[in-house]
Symmetry: C2
Amino acid sequence: MNAAIDVRADPVAALEHTMHTMPPVAALGVRVQACDAGSLTLWAPLARNVNDKGSAFGGSQSALLTLAAWGLTTLRMAEAREHADIYVQDSSLRYLAPLQDDLVACAWLAPGQDWNAFLTSLVARGKARIALEAEMHDRAGNAVTRFEGRFVALRARG
Amino acid sequence: MNAAIDVRADPVAALEHTMHTMPPVAALGVRVQACDAGSLTLWAPLARNVNDKGSAFGGSQSALLTLAAWGLTTLRMAEAREHADIYVQDSSLRYLAPLQDDLVACAWLAPGQDWNAFLTSLVARGKARIALEAEMHDRAGNAVTRFEGRFVALRARG
């Protein structure tokens, strides 16, 4: 880890740095495109994620959507100054149409979920679960892939 | 494509060649480990697919499981001398435990599915659907990830 990046001062830069320490994420060319109070958007170039048909590889789409949801959870924890390992528990994906553009995955909280309840549970029990949704759109704004996933946070011991 | 590889003479070599023309698959270091009448097993090294916790990146697991199921469908079509593009339609994944070994994903036909019915529909309608399952195990043989997915084959026109 690069000690020059202060997770409290710039959680998004810290997230991007953590992502790029993961060889598969670096290989797929993933970048943070946008981040606001409710969502995180990741980008990856089609050229590094293309399949045998010239469109986006389904495995890359799945990876980027999972990573966007994981990344948003990581950001919310960092902002709350909590430390925990976050694991994906389960996910479902629907591939609606082939994608011939760069990959853009946006993640947000699933309906009925609450970051405060998640963080409260993490503090009280050292463990918490949260459900997120994510989507990938083409350049025209049409949804091409939909993701739902559940994540668990386990506070590091010691 | 390398014209020296005859898909009819060696469908597994042809599949591995097709996979390696996909930049993300080459980047993750995917190889065919085994193939028999009912299943296809793919392998990828942990070093290229590791996350921030030293275990297998969930996105890589998802990609390899999806690819194993796609690859088995591709092989069955090649053996039947049918030509069609195969797309993943939807999938569900359960991550049961972290994986600290190399990634090994084995795919097979889901219960109640039939390759002959799939191929017959493809010939008659130019389109067919098939459901597959896949699993990832650690070195001790414990299942760490379970995948279910549906794929559609669309026969190339002309």
